[in-house]
């Protein structure tokens, strides 16, 4: 029986939360808390020593933070599955954690409902993301796909001048700076820019920059 239990290591600098979690997890028949850590350094050491199946990791801890601990632990022992427990409901954190080898992303505000599910999912080799984060991830992928498709069938019909202006825009110069550099009025530069955007079906300065980068305009 005990061989089949999921061996858990808890790493969180908040003692109250840690003891609450320990109680909750110990009550589960298929789980067993084998250790606790209060900071990143301790988490790394305990992970090495105890070789847990799953590490529950808070990413904002003092000293060696959770992010660094995650990277080091996964490097030393890729078999340890890591479920990150965090206050941050932001895609950027999730992206960073997933690329650093995390398997689960659970928000503390949903810990009571999702944590057990997440632990069981990653133990079986799966991935667990908070539903809102999954949505964000998918829509991000879709945006990228749309942008690529749009650019790939666009013919460049720019005049020499427009090409020059686009290049300078992509290099990060403002309309006024561009006007000074190529001896045009600011209004003329604005007009060129508007034409470029029309022709390339782009809407903003950032899209112009990306277009120029993707089409090698900056290399020439």
């Amino acid at each position: 029986m005990s061989e089949n239990r999921i061996r858990l290591l808890l790493a969180d600098d908040h003692a109250v939360l840690r003891s609450g979690l320990r109680l909750l997890l110990s009550e589960q028949p298929d789980m067993e808390v084998v250790g606790e850590a209060a900071d990143g350094e301790e988490a790394i050491n305990k992970a090495r020593e105890l070789k847990p199946d799953v590490l529950l990791l808070d990413i904002t801890m003092p000293g060696v933070g959770g992010l660094e601990a995650l990277e080091r632990i996964k490097k030393e022992d890729p078999d340890i599955k890591v479920v990150v427990l965090t206050m941050h409901d932001d895609e950027s954190y999730m992206e960073r954690i997933m690329t650093s080898g995390g398997s689960g992303y659970v928000l503390k505000k949903a810990a009571d409902t999702e944590l057990l599910q997440a632990i069981r999912a990653v133990q079986q080799g799966g991935v667990y993301l908070h539903p809102a984060m999954t949505r964000a991830l998918v829509s991000q992928l879709q945006r990228k796909a749309v942008a690529q498709e749009k650019q790939s069938h666009l013919e460049s019909k720019l005049s020499e001048r427009e090409r020059e202006v686009l290049k300078l825009i992509a290099q990060g110069y403002t309309n006024k700076e561009i006007a000074d550099m190529i001896f045009l009025s600011v209004k003329t530069v604005e007009t060129h820019k508007a034409h470029i955007m029309d022709k390339l079906e782009l809407r903003s300065r950032a899209e112009l920059v990306r277009y120029a980068l993707d089409n090698g305009l900056l290399k020439a």
Binding site: H14, H88, D90, K108, A111, D112, T174, A206
Partner: protein, 468 residues
């Protein structure tokens, strides 16, 4: 002003005449100025007047010379705003104009009330002349300053008013002391020295005995000019000092404010946030017990309320200080700021960054750029009625540049800085202020109907690798 050979010769003749005429200077007269010397005869003169054919022409030539001299001096003085340079250049120019060998400028120190030596030229002085100063009424400078009138001493060795017989100081044969005036007050004294051995071996130096009425009035006019220059250089220095102090204080206020925000945000997360999360877990444990349905319903309510409080605490902390700025860096924190704006206003912000991957930005740069961009985005949301906004972040050649551009209604930048409501104006000025504290700049390009572009550029202090 270059003298012709003819002028020189005429001057020498005149000087000889003046010496043989022998102006008798009463030892009791504390101040001597040929201008006030009454009808005692022709003041000795080495200036152009001597060889002028008529009085009218002479007058004209003299005025012309004076004017050119003043113009030349004004031109010299205006080249620099730094006091030391102003004094040295002015002294050099004056000596050149009046053809004397040495000189010094002393400045009245408003705190001690003493005249402090600040510039010398052409005269041998000890190596260390730090702290050489005169009290009011002490020595020639003190007397000149006290009376605010010029003084000519023809025989320095015999004159008790000259008190500087210290080691290492070259003693001139004769001198002229000129008060330097600004806004009706004496701000300093310029002494001009005749150092040449008198060729006529007379008791009084004929070389400078020839400083005549026109020369003194010209010198007084120069004294006014130099005085004004000292005054403005001082104001400039004071302004610079105050500006430096202000910037320093502002920096400290900003750092303190950011630290405070960070601390409160952490405490919200670590304190209330964690306790609420624990509370929710405890409720969860209760739910797994065998309790009546009504109790379970209550517990679900408690759980929902706790979850909402936790969310609010999180948002509050995020508003105070985005923790991803510290955890994940500027580029990521700005991505969140863009998303956040999109969520709140429905305006999509197109964000593009490059060159930041291998760069380490100091915390001060990160937070300043973050706050400036945040302000720019807030302005877009509040005022621009834009449909497209983009944010570009780029590190290149040791500089970090962020551009926030919208296609909204735009505005007249100069007019807004002039008469916008205090809050908006402060926002714009504050952005520029924060950038300039880092040695950077923040410019706003906009006009009505043409959208708005905010450019922030700050230097990246050397440490990590620069892009490219």
């Amino acid at each position: 002003m270059q003298k012709t050979q003819a002028v020189r010769e005429a001057e020498e003749r005149a000087a000889a005449r003046g010496a043989s005429g022998g102006l008798d200077e009463p030892a009791t007269a504390p101040y001597w100025c040929p201008m006030m010397d009454g009808p005692a005869g022709t003041p000795p003169c080495r200036r152009a007047r001597a060889d002028a054919t008529s009085a009218g022409d002479g007058e004209l030539v003299q005025r012309n010379k004076e004017l050119s001299a003043l113009v030349a001096l004004a031109e010299t003085i205006s080249r620099s705003q730094e006091l030391r340079t102003v004094l040295e250049d002015a002294l050099e120019k004056v000596l050149e104009i009046v053809a004397m060998e040495g000189g010094e400028i002393l400045i009245l120190d408003p705190d001690s009330g003493r005249l402090v030596l600040r510039a010398t030229r052409g005269i041998e002085t000890p190596q260390t002349r730090e702290g050489v100063s005169f009290a009011p009424g002490e020595g020639v400078p003190g007397l000149v300053a006290e009376a605010a009138r010029p003084m000519v001493i023809r025989n320095v060795l015999k004159d008790p008013r000259f008190v500087r017989a210290r080691a290492g100081w070259q003693t001139p044969h004769a001198l002229v002391g000129i008060p330097l005036m600004a806004r009706g007050e004496v701000v300093g004294v310029m002494d001009l020295f005749c150092l040449r051995e008198c060729p006529h071996r007379t008791e009084e130096c004929v070389q400078c005995a020839c400083v005549d009425a026109e020369d003194v009035s010209l010198l007084l006019a120069m004294g006014q000019q130099i005085g004004m220059a000292i005054d403005s250089a001082r104001l400039w220095e004071e302004l610079r000092r105050k500006e430096k102090n202000r910037a320093h204080l502002l920096q400290q206020v900003i750092v303190a404010q950011e630290e405070e925000r960070k601390r409160i945000a952490r405490e919200l997360h670590d304190g209330a946030g964690q306790l609420l999360a624990s509370l929710m877990i405890s409720v969860k444990r209760l739910q797994s017990m065998d309790l009546p349905e009504e109790a379970c319903a209550r517990m679900r309510e408690i759980r929902a309320t706790a979850a909402r409080i936790l969310e609010e605490v999180h948002d509050l902390a995020l508003g105070l200080r985005p923790s991803m700025l510290d955890d994940l860096g500027l580029a990521v924190a700005l991505a969140c700021a863009c998303d956040d704006l999109g969520r709140r206003t429905g305006i999509a912000v197109d964000y593009h960054r490059d060159g930041l991957e291998s760069i380490h930005l100091p915390g001060a740069v990160e937070i300043a750029v973050y706050r400036i961009v945040q302000e720019a985005l807030t302005n877009v949301a509040k005022h621009a009625s834009a449909s497209n906004v983009s944010l570009l972040l780029r590190a290149r050649g040791g500089r970090l540049r962020a551009i926030v551009e919208d296609d909204g209604v735009g505005f007249d930048v100069a007019a807004t800085l002039e008469d916008a409501p205090e809050e908006r104006k402060l926002g714009l000025v504050g952005m520029q202020e924060r950038a300039s504290l880092l040695g950077g700049s923040c410019t706003v390009e906009s006009r009505p109907g043409a959208g708005c572009t905010v450019v922030v550029e700050v230097p990246i202090p050397r440490q990590g690798e620069a892009y490219e």
